[in-house]
């Protein structure tokens, strides 16, 4: 038998959704074009990199638990995406290498980042928040060394196709991202491996008693997160027609908001793959909506920050109840 949720818990549960619904009503009323198919397509296209890195963060949180401090979190995924983008752009433009070779090198870099994160968390026993923050700072530094803090333009036809091409009448980037999201959903929510991953994050002790090698799943979650950073790099390159320094900051903000916002929309208020995807799309919709009605970009950042606080505080208060 479970105790009925307290009134405070019910209010906290409903708060993020209520705020978002009100925001969307406000945007729909104030922008003639917000509720239209072209805007939906624009929202989905702009959501692509955020969706991909949010898949990685969702996987780490599912494996490590949703406590922001002691649970699973990986703040280095956007930095991984940006360094991979820089490596590929550098290889394509400055060294005249092939896209495949650039992606191979970037895959190696992402693998190193994943191993370092996993090592710091599982073996050194650092809190994931600090470990991945430190990794992110280091990775951004290495990225600046690779790019010399300069933009590197890319005109590779595959990257251009991801940017401008269509598959079955839908933007290629959106279709490819949907395929990756489906694969992640299947892996995390429909396989035995995924069930064990969820068990690890749900209760580490219980999972260990059940014979699950929990450390192995935490390690694998960080490797998968780095993998999503690697996948995201081609979409980052496509979106910006090259590698631009400084792109990781906005991506980090949107990734954290999207992933925890997704949890607020799930029936059990837990982080899920589809929740992360929905969260990323909603965050993109907010960005497009705010810009469309002329909200100052600084207010947009402020609102996003406040929403992160709201969804994380709601989750924390819910656990405390």
């Amino acid at each position: 038998m479970t105790a009925a949720a307290s009134p405070l818990r019910r209010v906290l549960d409903a708060l993020p959704i209520t705020v978002f619904v009100l925001l969307f009503i406000y945007l729909s009323v104030n922008s003639n074009s917000f509720l239209s198919l072209p805007t939906l397509e624009l929202i989905l296209k702009q959501a692509v990199p955020t969706v991909l890195v949010s898949l990685g963060l969702a996987t780490v949180i599912i494996a490590g638990g949703d406590d922001v401090v002691s649970g699973g979190i990986d703040l280095s995924i956007p930095a991984t995406a940006i360094i991979c983008a820089a490596i590929v752009a550098d290889q394509l433009t400055n060294r005249e290498a092939t896209l495949i070779w650039g992606l191979v090198l970037a895959f190696g870099a992402a693998g190193v980042i994943g191993v370092v994160n996993a090592g710091l968390v599982v073996w050194v026993r650092m809190t994931p928040l600090l470990a991945t923050l430190a990794t992110s700072v280091a990775v951004v530094g290495v990225t600046k060394v690779i790019t010399e803090s300069r933009r590197i333009g890319v005109t590779d036809p595959t990257i251009v196709f991801i940017r401008d091409g269509q598959i079955a009448g839908i933007a290629a980037g959106v279709v490819l991202t949907a395929i990756v999201a489906l694969a992640f959903w299947h892996l995390v929510h429909r396989t035995r491996w995924g069930m064990n991953l969820q068990a690890t994050g749900g209760s580490r002790d219980a999972a260990q008693i059940s014979g699950i090698a929990t450390n192995r799943f935490v390690v694998q979650s960080f490797l998968l997160a780095a993998f999503t950073g690697w996948i995201a790099c081609t979409f980052v390159l496509a979106r910006g027609s090259g590698s631009s320094p400084g792109s990781e900051e906005n991506l980090l903000l949107e990734m954290v908001l999207a992933t925890f916002l997704g949890a607020a929309f799930s029936p059990r208020r837990v982080v899920t793959v589809w929740g992360a995807v929905l969260g990323a799309v909603l965050v993109s919709a907010l960005s497009v909506g705010f810009i469309s009605i002329g909200v100052n970009v600084f207010w947009t950042g402020c609102i996003k920050g406040a929403l992160i606080l709201l969804v994380v505080a709601s989750a924390a208060a819910g656990r405390a109840q």
């Binding site: 702009q46 090259g242 631009s244 400084g246 906005n250 810009i291």
Partner: protein, 324 residues
Amino acid sequence: MNYTTKLLAALAMSVSVAGMAAADGHANLEGKTIGVAVVGTQHFWDREAFNGAVDTVKELGGTVVPVDGGRDNQVHADNHDILLNQGVDAVISILGDGAVEPKFEALKNAGIPVFTVDHQSPHAVNNTTSDNYYMGTTIGRYMADAIGGEGKVAVFNAFEGALRICGIRTGLWKYVLQDYPGIEIIQPELAEEFANAPEDARKKTLDLLSQYPEGTLDAIHVGCWDQPAIGIVQALEEAGRTDVLVTALDGGPDTLEIMAEDGSPFVANVAQQPNLIGSTAARNVAAHFAGETLLPQTFVDVFPVNGQAEAKAAYKELGYGSLD
């Protein structure tokens, strides 16, 4: 003719040239919705160019859809998709790197004319910009003179390959220095960050000073703008190395104030008129809709500023107030 008189004459001429686009009275923007996209509004130059464009569109009867990239080139580029989606009649795009090119192309293909500011593009009807050629050569001469025609010079040069205007300014600065064989540009060149330029330049300058002790570095130049120069001067003052001279480009009020201080190491600059540039771009949009044929580029005059006295004069004449 003294510096102030020359400055006033040039100002009057540049204002009249800029106004020619809409001078015939029938060029207006009534009934038109104009998207104005700016890469950021944190810095004086960007903000003034943006304000100039927005105010002039309104003055000419148009409706403005403003979008601000928050000093993030990617967000700035993405904002053009929103303007395309909103079906504006024309777009004025201020700054931005190569990420905006596909967006310009999409706007052009949708029949929306693009007018750029400080960004040459094959997809734009017109680019309004300062006389970058004059800026590059003048600052080269001023810097060479300031260090007596010889010495070691470090350069912050992050954007020479990414932005054509920076390619022109820094390229011509280097071209001038070819005639000064005694001047050596320290390699590798430095690259400043776009978003946090003053603080980033301060740190990099402190590193540079530790590598080049007193007497081994003569000047630091910023190749395309002057926000990093704020941090460079801070670092020189922190390290007690104000013997190292600083030169840069843009000449906003913040850097002119630094130049006007007694004993400032910041000795030369070239001041632009960002508000007039933005305003001119808006008038070019009106001229385009009035059926006039525009040249690919509209150049707005710049004002070389050499030393403390000229910094004070330029500050006053450009309408920033008085430093006396």
